[in-house]
């Protein structure tokens, strides 16, 4: 409950309601803030107490679904992960994520990012054992091999990195740090055999060569995915492949049947109780 000791913070929220006004406008709200209140909580408080027409996209409220990306006080962030008092400002300006079309108020259309994500073939490519992208057998992968790509697999597709990227600010065809980072995540996976196929999507004039190492994507990423690192490692892979300095990468082998993989001294499993 709000107490008289709560600090009042002024929220300047960008509104956009297409059928009422083709231009965006700012609306100001005063919100009582106590320690621990996030920007998302504040926006929901506004919606409940001041203006129910304010539209926001959110879901998990805990930084894992990637829905609530917004441009808060000059940086793109997740609203549920940004505490109002940490911003150290009496005015909090909230705008929708830049470099995307806006559907309404603070809701961006993330389809451009998702389409580019699909274009880099974000799945394990392995024609022999996984022709339908579904694995038929377990593939062998050591913990060291997992460490090479697992960082990039934490991407929650929130789109904050694309908002931070200076190239994405002008170039709508640019694949973006999200797609390029995921292209590396799959190319670096030891189970994958599709670097050459993925190169065709990434090695284009609006692809990986348009990343100029501003590093803003990694700074903005809320999950520590570090797409900048992934993109530079991707560049090395693609350049080595395009000059023929690195050959076809054979994917991880299939795990042998359990019976052949038993360590000595371990008894075999009991018979199946449910018929196949």
């Amino acid at each position: 409950m709000n107490s008289p000791n709560d600090k009042m913070i002024n929220f300047r929220v960008q509104r956009y309601i297409a059928d009422k006004d083709p231009d965006t406008f700012f609306q100001e709200y005063d919100v009582p803030v106590k320690k621990g209140l996030t920007v998302l909580d504040a926006l929901l408080w506004i919606k409940e107490n001041l203006d129910s027409s304010l539209s926001i996209r959110y879901s998990c409220r805990m930084g894992i679904c990637g829905s609530c990306g917004m441009y808060i006080n000059g940086l793109p962030r997740l609203a549920c992960q940004t505490q109002v008092l940490f911003l150290e400002s009496d005015v909090v300006e909230v705008k929708p994520l830049p470099n995307y079309p806006v559907l309404r108020d603070l809701i961006p259309d993330l389809m451009p990012m998702l389409e580019k994500h699909r274009a880099v073939k974000p799945w394990i490519i392995r024609p022999d054992t996984m022709p339908d992208v579904e694995p038929k057998k377990e593939l062998k992968q050591t913990p060291e091999e997992i460490e090479e790509y697992i960082q990039f697999s934490y991407c929650i597709k929130c789109g904050v990195c694309v908002s931070a990227c200076p190239t994405a600010a002008t170039d709508k065809q640019f694949l973006g740090p999200q797609a390029l980072g995921q292209a590396y995540r799959y190319s670096a996976d030891s189970r994958d055999e599709g670097v050459d196929e993925r190169s065709d999507a990434v090695d284009l004039s609006h692809g990986m060569v348009n990343c100029h190492l501003a590093g803003a994507c990694s700074e903005a990423c809320p999950k520590g995915v570090d797409p900048a690192l992934g993109i530079q490692l991707l560049k090395r892979e693609v350049v080595l492949h395009s000059w023929g300095l690195k050959g076809f990468k054979k994917g991880a082998p299939e795990m042998p049947p359990m019976e052949k993989n038993l360590k000595p001294g371990i008894p075999p499993a009991p018979a199946r109780t449910v018929k196949k």
Partner: protein
């Protein structure tokens, strides 16, 4: 009905305003601006130095025109641009080929991005660049002919 991306894109402002981002983004801005300035100078330079094959009078004529103080200052500005662009460029060549970058590892909060972890490399090259700019400044303005 949605507002077009054009309205919500940061545009050229997104290129040249780095705000609260880290120093690598500022380096990107200066690298781009210095590159464009050097390119512009390059074509003028190719044209002007071409005069040397037309004889002594042609050469001395064009040199007297570009020998004025304003051009001398402009040349020093170019020296600064080249010193920055070359040293930052060395960093970019290595890092954009994935060299001298930390290995990927599971991120532990608060995560420090790879570029932030190797920032010492950037500072070292910038120090060398400043030393070169200083030495160049001595040669341009302090140690005069004779």
């Amino acid at each position: 009905m949605e507002k077009t991306a054009k309205g919500n894109c940061l545009g050229i402002f997104g290129w040249f305003y780095a705000g609260k981002y880290q120093i690598e983004r500022y380096a990107y801005i200066f690298h781009r601006l210095s590159g464009l300035a050097i390119l512009l100078y390059l074509f003028m330079h190719i044209y002007v130095t071409g005069f040397r094959i037309h004889g002594r009078e042609a050469w001395e004529g064009v040199m007297s025109k570009v020998g004025e103080p304003i051009f001398h200052l402009g040349e020093y500005m170019l020296f600064i641009a080249v010193a920055f662009h070359a040293l930052n460029g060395i960093r970019l060549i290595f890092q954009e080929l994935g060299l001298f970058l930390p290995k990927p590892a599971s991120p532990v909060y608060p995560y420090k991005p790879a570029l932030a972890r190797v920032r010492i490399f950037f500072y070292l090259l910038m120090f060398i660049s400043l030393v070169l700019m200083f030495i160049g400044g001595l040669d341009f303005f302090i140690f005069v002919e004779g």
